[in-house]
């Protein structure tokens, strides 16, 4: 029996007992089985023999179709008990599924919570770094700016001296170059030493020019920066800190809050704790700066 004969017999045995699309579906499955068998190097006849008599197969399919999920013994146990068992199973099934879903939900929520916690910790860490840096700059405030200004003022004459040296070097260099050309033209043939010396002078002068110019530019840059920082701190420093003071005052209306948060800023996870911790320390900083 080859494939088409087998399928034809199977279809004939099922026709009228099952819906058309179901038969089609079954035929598809058996076609696939034939295909696989052929792919494994078997002949269609061999596969057909393996499957057994198509009428028996059809019979089995029909009996399976008629069968209930709880097969075999259940059919002999009578309707009521059977349906009762089935109902109980269904309830158990849905309970199982519900439990599974609830578990999954809980697990997901816990994971999300962990992730959020980690993210918050990360943010807090980066915030702490930022605070440290900002605190440092604020602490340096007026005094720091003054020191920077003083340093710049002390450095400025040196920079100017460098600048003058540079100019001298440039003049010397230019003179050397001119002397070299003249010397080369006038005495070059007689005494080659003079023009070479002059060229060496010119090169050295140029190097000095470049080096001192860079130094001077850097010095001027730092001077300007120091002045700008000083002006910024003078203008905005106090106002910002007043704002912080207001916030700190408002937050610390709760008598325990400030102490609690300040003594243990890492333990409580809320943002208010973070804020109050920051404002408190800022306020202190500002006071410290004031006294200075």
């Amino acid at each position: 029996m080859n494939r088409s004969e087998y399928i034809a017999q199977l279809t004939a045995a099922l026709r009228g007992k099952l819906a058309f699309d179901e038969i089609e579906d079954i035929v598809r499955d058996y076609q696939e089985f034939f295909d696989e068998g052929v792919r494994q190097g078997k002949s269609e006849e061999q596969v057909a023999a393996e499957l057994g008599n198509p009428r028996d197969v059809a019979q089995q399919i029909l009996s399976e179709e008629r069968e209930t999920p709880s097969s075999g013994t259940a059919s002999s146990e009578g309707g009521f008990r059977d349906s009762f068992t089935r109902g109980a199973e269904k309830v158990a099934d849905s309970a199982d599924q519900f439990a599974k879903k609830a578990n999954a939900f809980t697990r997901r929520k816990m994971e999300e919570h962990e992730q959020r916690k980690a993210r918050r910790q990360e943010e807090r860490a980066s915030r702490a770094v930022w605070e440290d840096s900002s605190r440092y700059s604020r602490r340096s405030g007026c005094l720091g700016a003054l020191l920077k200004l003083a340093a710049a003022v002390i450095a400025a004459p040196f920079a100017l001296a460098f600048l003058i040296c540079c100019l001298v070097g440039v003049i010397l260099g230019v003179a050397g170059i001119v002397a070299a050309i003249c010397g080369f033209v006038v005495l070059g043939m007689v005494l080659p030493l003079i023009p070479f010396t002059a060229i060496a002078c010119a090169v050295a002068g140029l190097i000095f020019v470049i080096f001192f110019c860079i130094t001077a530019v850097i010095a001027v840059f730092w001077l300007l920066k120091a002045v700008l920082v000083f002006i910024r701190d003078l203008l905005f420093g106090r106002r910002i800190d007043d704002d912080y003071f207001d916030r700190a005052f408002r937050v610390s209306e709760d008598p325990n809050a400030g102490w609690h948060f300040r003594s243990d800023p890492g333990a409580s996870g809320s943002w208010t704790a973070q804020d109050s911790g920051r404002t408190d320390s800022d306020e202190e900083n500002w006071k410290g700066g004031d006294q200075e």
Partner: protein, 109 residues
């Protein structure tokens, strides 16, 4: 072997196989043939019924040579059903083994 008993056991085997990984019909038959001499014709009707009862879902996978394969995959419902069947199986095993060892002669039918 008794056909009803055999069918139940084959059903459990199919459930257990597909719980491990998605398989297509021929694959299942080959996997079971390794252990026992089964009639290929019996596997497909069982697969069909289990799919119809919602224990399996199917999907087609285009194969590089030849027609598409219908893969069977286990549903949540199927997993519960398998668990239940495994418990039943263990219970039956316990009963049968104890009777075969002669511990429960009064229960023998």
């Amino acid at each position: 072997m008794n056909t009803q008993l055999r069918k139940g056991v084959i059903e459990l085997c199919i459930l257990a196989l597909i719980a491990q990984k998605d398989m297509y019909g021929y694959d299942i038959v080959r996997a079971m043939e390794k252990y026992t001499d089964i009639n290929e014709g019996t596997v497909y009707p069982i697969l069909r019924r289990l799919t119809k009862d919602g224990y399996f879902a199917t999907y087609l996978v285009e194969s590089d040579s030849g027609p598409a394969r219908k893969y069977y995959t286990m549903t949540d419902r199927g997993r519960i059903y398998l668990k239940k069947n495994i418990l039943d199986w263990e219970e039956i095993m316990l009963l049968v083994n104890s009777i075969l060892k002669g511990e429960g002669n009064d229960e023998q039918k």
